[in-house]
Amino acid sequence: MVGTVENIEAKEQEIIEEFSLFDDWMDRYEHIIGLGKVLPLISDELKQDDLLIKGCQSRVWLHANLEDGKVLFTADSDAIITKGIISLLIRVLSGQTPSEIINTDLTFIDEIGLKEHLSPTRSNGLVSMVKQMKLYALAFRTQQNNPS
């Protein structure tokens, strides 16, 4: 399954199209809240302090592993809107190669009107989460290039 994943741009485009159906902020947020509610993104035993990214307001847990050259992410948050946005980020980034993850700038967040959530002042943990996702990707790429 991992091998048939679309690339990051295609995933982003898919989400932009999905969000273009909504006329106002209310519908957009209801959709995000829906996404946040649906998914148990990370198993409880992974909600440990060493996987915790502390935002000032909401907390984010992030776990990553490498399978067949692709990075698989799972993550969670105690705030639903944060969790909804996490599920979008995971849809785009999980299953991609380390290099693709390192090089993306995730423009879709801006295009679907959620840029404010990735502003450092929001302190919801999302900025640190994206940074952490890229760090994992970087670590995996280094690992691939220098197999011990």
Binding site: Y29, Q57, S58, A79
Partner: protein, 408 residues
């Protein structure tokens, strides 16, 4: 004296920002505990200073410097009168409440706190009134003692008496809690501490704009506050300290203005208040603070207290009926704010949706993480009031929360 300003619409008209829209909705600003909005008179005073008076104060012989010095020093006298200090040299300009606390922690600490001594604070302090003392205790080998609070968010006076000991060197506590709204019985607590000759510092950041403060009547040894929460600009605050204590303390920072004579061998320090005011101060900010005090005086505390108490009562009565809403902080004596959590809805989520409705509240731990830990919540939603807030705005908040509840 001219007639007092007691009409809310007239008061609101002084604040240009209150007529703007946020996310297409009229702004409902309920984050006054973080910072208040500024009236036109404060904005004008700052602009006027830069347009007509700007120059460096003290020591300049030219007219501009003389005028700026006079304007700045007039504010010191205005602050003295505002909190009824005995002397104007007991009024030290700082950059804000945090700066004032750090000044006392550093200077008082350097002079009077030794290994094994104790500093006493309460469990409802802002991080600004925790961390400087922790740092001091670490430096000096002293101990930080914390007075617990009840589930209502109140201090227990008997526990307070028991916690004071022969090693207690200083007590620092908040006048009105920024996360719970509790008004602490500081006059009584100061009297208890003074019976054992222990000085008390009061963090008045959330108090000076809500109620009249008389430092002599309270007999506070130190009282600190910020201009920006009382309709003035950011970057300026006040440390009031009793003359004899300030005289006993080491200077905080070295530099210009705080010296009498400098040689490479020895520097002699300036007298109060300048001993604690190294470097060029925030002159424009100080002048803005003066205008903010004039603004408060133009309304008067009788009206401010009555109006804000009515707003708080109304907010509590309206919010109480919301199913799943729990107040955090239910002290009998409260002022300025309501803090609450919604069952099953994270404060961050609540804040995001309220913002979309043009309602500015604060969500999170409000820089009082130990309070959040005590109440076992990740944070709260806090609506904090100023004199320009209205019951209609409270109604909008309640409607906003209903909307939030429907969405989650």
């Amino acid at each position: 004296m001219s007639e007092l300003l007691t009409d809310i619409e007239a008061i609101r008209a002084h604040f240009p920002i209150l007529s703007r829209e946020v996310n297409g909705k009229p702004l409902v600003y309920l984050d006054n505990g973080a910072t208040s909005q500024k009236p036109q008179s404060v904005i004008d005073a700052i602009s006027h200073y830069y347009e007509y008076e700007n120059s460096n104060i003290h020591r300049g012989v030219h007219t501009l410097s003389q005028d700026a010095t006079a304007a700045y020093e007039d504010v010191r006298k205005k602050v003295q009168k505002f909190i009824n200090a005995k002397h104007d040299h007991e009024i030290i300009f700082t950059s804000g409440t945090t700066d004032g606390i750090n000044l006392v922690a550093s200077s008082f600490g350097a002079s009077l706190v030794r290994k094994g001594d104790e500093i006493l604070i309460t469990a409802m302090e802002h991080h600004s009134n925790i961390v400087p003392w922790q740092m001091l205790c670490e430096r000096r080998g002293a101990h930080l003692k914390v007075l617990p609070i009840s589930k209502e968010g109140e201090i227990d006076i008997e526990a307070f008496k028991k916690l004071i000991g022969p090693k207690t060197e200083l007590i620092s506590l908040v006048h009105i809690s920024n996360s719970l709204g509790t008004i602490n019985p500081i006059k009584e607590m100061i009297a208890i501490a003074h019976a054992q000759n222990i000085p008390v510092m009061i963090d008045g950041a959330q108090a000076v704009h809500h109620m009249p403060v008389d430092v002599q009547e309270l007999d506070a040894d130190f009282y600190v506050f910020s201009a920006h929460k009382m309709y003035g600009p950011t970057g300026v605050g006040i440390l009031y300290g009793k003359e004899e204590l300030l005289n006993d303390m080491e200077p905080y920072q070295g530099g210009g203005d705080m010296i009498k004579n400098v040689t490479f061998e020895k520097t002699t320090y300036n007298d109060l208040p300048f001993k604690f005011e190294a470097g060029t101060p925030n002159i424009a900010g100080g002048i803005g603070l003066g205008a903010a005090i004039d603004f408060i005086n133009s309304i008067g505390f009788d009206f401010i207290q009555a109006h804000e108490a009515e707003l708080c009562r109304f907010a509590v009565s309206q919010l109480r009926d919301i199913k799943g809403l729990r107040f955090i902080g239910t002290a009998k004596e409260r002022a300025g704010l309501v803090s609450f959590v919604l069952d099953g809805i994270h404060p961050y989520d609540t804040g995001v949706i309220l913002d979309k409705l043009g309602i500015a509240v604060r969500t999170g731990h409000h820089c009082t993480q130990p309070v959040m830990t005590f109440f076992e919540v990740p944070g709260t939603v806090r609506a904090s009031f100023a004199v320009y807030n209205t019951k209609q705005e409270v109604v909008k908040l309640v409607e906003g929360i209903d909307r939030v509840k429907r969405m989650f």
